[in-house]
């Protein structure tokens, strides 16, 4: 399966608002925890490791790491298969 990157949310604004609402009243640390829990829940829902790897790579892409190297789509966490 391929990671869906075309629009897939019926109501993107509603989702975005719900996402921000979920973090309301949380400290930075609590928000980190919420995000982590959310990722684990969604990952289990997706289930397909290949799709999840594509999502991890897409999420990494473009972020400049500590050595100043921008990450490409191919440089996702792939060391273990």
């Amino acid at each position: 399966m391929t990671l869906i990157t075309e629009p897939h949310l019926a109501h993107p604004d509603d989702f975005y608002e719900a996402l921000l609402d979920a973090h309301r009243g949380f400290t930075e640390e609590q928000s980190q925890l919420l995000n982590a829990r959310l990722i684990l829940l969604l990952a289990n829902h997706v289930g397909d490791l290949d799709v999840l790897r594509q999502a991890l790579a897409a999420a990494r892409a473009g972020i400049v790491d500590q050595e100043g190297q921008p990450q490409s789509m191919e440089s996702g966490a792939k060391e273990s298969t």
């Binding site: 980190q32 925890l33 982590a36 829990r37 990722i39 684990l40 829940l41 289990n44 273990s80």
Partner: protein
Amino acid sequence: MNSELFAYRKAPELVSGKAGRYRVAVVGAGPVGLCAAIDLAQYGVDVLLLDEDDKASEGSRAICFSQRTLEILDRLGCGERVVGKGVVWKHGKVFLRDRLLYQFDLQPEAGHKRPAFINLQQYYLEQFLVERAIETRRVDLRWRNRVISVASGTGNVALTIRTPDGDYDIECDYLIAADGARSPIRSMLGLEVSGQVFRDRFLIADVRMEADFPTERWFWFDPPFHPNQSVLLHRQADNVWRIDFQLGWDADPEIEKQPDRVISRIRAMLGETRPFTLEWVSVYTFRCQRMERFRHGRVFFLGDAAHQVSPFGARGANSGIQDADNLGWKLANVLKAVATDRLLDSYDAERIPAADENILNSTRSTDFITPKSKISRTFRDAALQLAHTHPFARGLVNSGRLSVPHSYRGSPLDSPDHDAFSGRISSGAACIDVPLTGRTGPAWLIDQIGNRFVCIYYAGSNRQPPEAQIEGLRDGAVPVEAIVIGTVGWPLTALPEHIPAFIDTHGLFAQRYDATPGSLYLFRPDQHLSARWRTLDPDAVRSALSRAACPHALALAAS
């Protein structure tokens, strides 16, 4: 402990003044070296076994021995004693703070001779193995014999050995280095081991006490009695309990080993009133690393000398004993000149991937137990919290993935399937045990195979199995024993007495091996499945044997 077992004796070389000549020398009389020596001895090879010490290991050290290891110990003739003395377990519980997160069962089905695990102090295992080694009469055990130099040539390996009575020299055809994580043989040969060092410290305390905790593996994340760290509790023989406290990297090992300090940690866990005595205390760190290759010409590295893992998952001693299990029959067949040297190369081809599998699992467990960064700690905590209420998250919680045997699927000795099979076992995997009934009563599949190549023919309910073809399996270049298994109601009298025959009493052979009438299974001397077919084709069997046994061209030509 019987100290006579470990008694130093003056080496004959020091009396005669002549250099000794041996087929195989094993360095290190720990569990791995002893298993290697016993295995070779059982195959008829005389072995010189050298150890620099003259006692069994201090403290309990390795304690968890897996089903596969117990099956190997059965093959080596001392499984019964080990299981008899050990404590059997298969359940584990994982706690977060003071709440049970989930529990697991490592052997949820019946129909296995051996349990998922036993716990037994390493010194008991070593004692039983030493007794067994002596019983074989082929193991020359020399305590306080330390190898001080080693030279590996094309035709032999030369050793200089230091004893209380002086130094002497020997030569051997092959050297087995089972001399532990700091392997002096490895250093003397200038070989390296590389991998990852973990920045964490753990305290092991072996405690003797009367306690009615169940015989289960209990693991706590962040318990109230040891906040922010993990704790592991295991029962051993003689009312000894292993408690493993995570300390963190900043802990001072010398301070942490002080009895007062250890006792107060244990009191916090067990309560102020429970009486106990402290048996052994150690603070350790660990590494996940291996040598690039385990075979170096005539020298083989086994166990911790070749590869090291964290203790979570019981993958250290178990994988070392499985190294010995893999090498024994190969080296014996090469020494008897029935197999070519290529068979010895397969030790690397099969045991390096096994080590990598253990290192991978052990590293993942360690990354969960000892998060390396703030974000990995966050994900760890998220998984632990979700595990209370969401079953999926329990699969992410990693307190150690317990040792299972590595499959040699895809190894150069393995014959891939040409026929379609489902079921649990694939070619290359270790035998999955099954209860049977033989001509003299109940039996286990695991006891019928091993020590030689075995072909199992599944007759189903066919009262007239092809006897001539089954007999013919024995006549090839590589000796094979043929065994026939039939379904319930199949007459054991269908075949002459000299062909071993069994009934699949509970239908578990058919189920676990996806057997249909006529299916044929080839097992190696180390009880791994080498090939399988839906029908008996003598040419296919010959070709699989030729692949698995690497017979000499001469032996092939003679057949």
